[in-house]
């Protein structure tokens, strides 16, 4: 099997894909979720966020889906879900990161808490 990886996956894209594993969401929601769960560490500036999502769409890693009813009234909210390809890419990237992090930890001593 040839590696299915299309591209180097930027960190921003990794976090967007990860947020979508829980189910469809819209851009602004992803921004909030990622910011919360990293305690503000990862911010996803608006420009970065929406451009990254357009990119991911173009690459077929995420795709549009219809908004749930509780959002039907409110303006032009765009919901996205992760595709099978996107899940595969996310899994691949996660495995790579795990390898790098594990190796790095053999070189860098953990600090005393």
């Amino acid at each position: 099997m040839s590696p299915r990886t299309v591209l180097p996956l930027p960190a921003t894209s990794f976090h967007i894909l990860l947020a979508l594993v829980d189910g469809p969401a819209h851009g602004y929601g992803i921004k909030r979720v990622v910011e919360e769960r990293t305690h503000g560490r990862i911010r996803l500036a608006a420009g970065t966020l929406y451009e990254a999502m357009q990119r991911l769409s173009r690459q077929g890693l995420i795709e549009n889906t219809e908004a749930p009813e509780e959002f039907s009234g409110s303006g032009r909210v765009r919901f996205y879900r992760i595709t099978d390809t996107g899940e595969a890419e996310l899994g691949d990237e996660l495995r790579r990161l795990e390898q790098d992090v594990a190796f790095a930890r053999t070189k860098v001593p953990a600090e005393q808490g």
Copy 2:
């Protein structure tokens, strides 16, 4: 204590710093080491590499050091070592990556090998 982190640390810089934990090295050597240990996964194109190292120097995360004798004859080889600040940054970034990877793994099932 306020976080000492200066900047977001790009992936390339992370790998360069990591390679320097084993001791001083020159750019081309780092390129080879990283490429080997990732089995060709991370390539470090020449432009990326040397510009990243100039950046890291400017930021005080690495610094020039003299080449060992076995390199004294051979041209203009530049050796670098990681600074204390660099080690601290590397440790910080590694901790962040570990957090992200661990969280991601709770969401993404490991593939059957």
